[in-house]
Symmetry: C2
Subunit: 310 residues, 2 copies
Amino acid sequence: MLMKIAVVGVGAIGGIYGGLLANVGHDVHFLLHSDFDHVQRNGLRIDSVLGDFQLPQVNAYQSAADMPQCDVVIVALKTTANMQLAPILDVLLKPETTLLLLQNGLGAEEFLAQHYPNNSLLSGLCFICCSKIGPGHILHLDQGAIRLGEYNPQQEAGITPKMRDIAELFANTGISIHFTPNLLQARWEKLVWNIPFNGLSVVLQQSTQGLLTDRHCRDLLVELMEEVIAAANHCGFTIQPSYAQVLLHATDKMADYQPSMLLDYQNKRPLELESIYWEPIRTAAERGFDMAKTRVIAQQLAFLDQKNSP
Amino acid sequence: MLMKIAVVGVGAIGGIYGGLLANVGHDVHFLLHSDFDHVQRNGLRIDSVLGDFQLPQVNAYQSAADMPQCDVVIVALKTTANMQLAPILDVLLKPETTLLLLQNGLGAEEFLAQHYPNNSLLSGLCFICCSKIGPGHILHLDQGAIRLGEYNPQQEAGITPKMRDIAELFANTGISIHFTPNLLQARWEKLVWNIPFNGLSVVLQQSTQGLLTDRHCRDLLVELMEEVIAAANHCGFTIQPSYAQVLLHATDKMADYQPSMLLDYQNKRPLELESIYWEPIRTAAERGFDMAKTRVIAQQLAFLDQKNSP
């Protein structure tokens, strides 16, 4: 089955996953912003642990109005750009289109489900070390798996046919797809890493190993992870307290890594504070749980983000 | 009455107060470290809002062993150097010597009272904007008052004769001395300012106005102040919750100012984390109060201090 796929946002995430899908023969249509001219002329270049490749000619668009309607629309914008989504999706979606959201944090699904209630909405949590190092040029350093779930605000979605369709789409790309029956729980589990590591990497201007090898900073990482776990459990999810140590030791073993928020900061891009900090903080507060330490980090990041905006 | 006065540590605080005392005719003996050669040759230079002056010849010493025993010993070292105090004070103290400690934070009095139980121990909390801008060269920008109390671990010391003696010492210097009957309460009150402003100035690399004028950072300042007030009240002191807003508005009106910890950091001096952060955190924890947000800041500072040490 040749699926028509739209990739909205061609940064690191849209570039690597869209590029891999195009490389195995899918009909992929890329909606670009700043890199449009370069990619239309030169295509995409992917330097990947899965094997380097180039796509000299890709279907590149500057406006959603020029794009065909697609079977799958992959949303790979930063969450900070989500206010731009509605006019794009209004054009790209057919009633039977599946939306695949590749974003971190909380809140985006609620917005999409409200606006496009008839479309299937799936989300992939990306466990990947990659960055865009030039126009149309993606560097994929490590990992790559996607935790995939279908959004269902009422109950656990379970493993659905649409999830199997998306997994099939990624066949032969080298990307592992892991199903999660409870997407929101998986999102909170990812926040257990994102909240401490992304935030402290920006505030203290350090990559992962720099944070992990200092005694006080390591304590702080653990305390923040424990707070996120406690918040998640307070919100009705189930994350074991020992998960903090699991993530800590896994990160010890990873290559030294600059979290995506540190890269955003260094490149003077807005930080994803709303989805990774404020929405979880609000969600927990509504259940009566104060994420006090997380709020300290969020307030510091808000200050730095404000000073950093070009 | 001509008193013999020793000043141990001639940074900003020892320099300005010792200089002012010498300038009104007291017999002041300065124990110096890095600036000894310069000060022995050139004396002290004080640029002060109270009037600029020079002291071309001062009694400068490199070793306590060369100094006379004194009626008053002013300890104006950074608390990070307090481990060097015992051998110095062993030499300088007579049984009737009054110790005057000009330091921030908690913990130093306990140590001194234990080692020198027979000497009167007074502490001055300095509300002053000043810094050492060169060898033997002090710049005093604003304020200058000292809140003075006598140390008494059992009960409120009240207003004591020794406190009046010290106030008399500062007569004609231009420095206001305000008596506090409860020194430890005054120390906690000063921590309400020091903990948020010193810490965030280092973590976020900002002077006071930069911190105050950002909405998120201002919220964080207030939350930290409220936490310190809650901790103090938990430890048996009485600080009104409204004190946070009082300090905030007072700082709004002050000239833009680099807190001393930021100056220490910029000059690669060790930060006073033990007295300003860890000792208060421990003291509150012993009473069952977790200074959670303060600990986040302390852990970040410990990380930065470690990376900053030369």
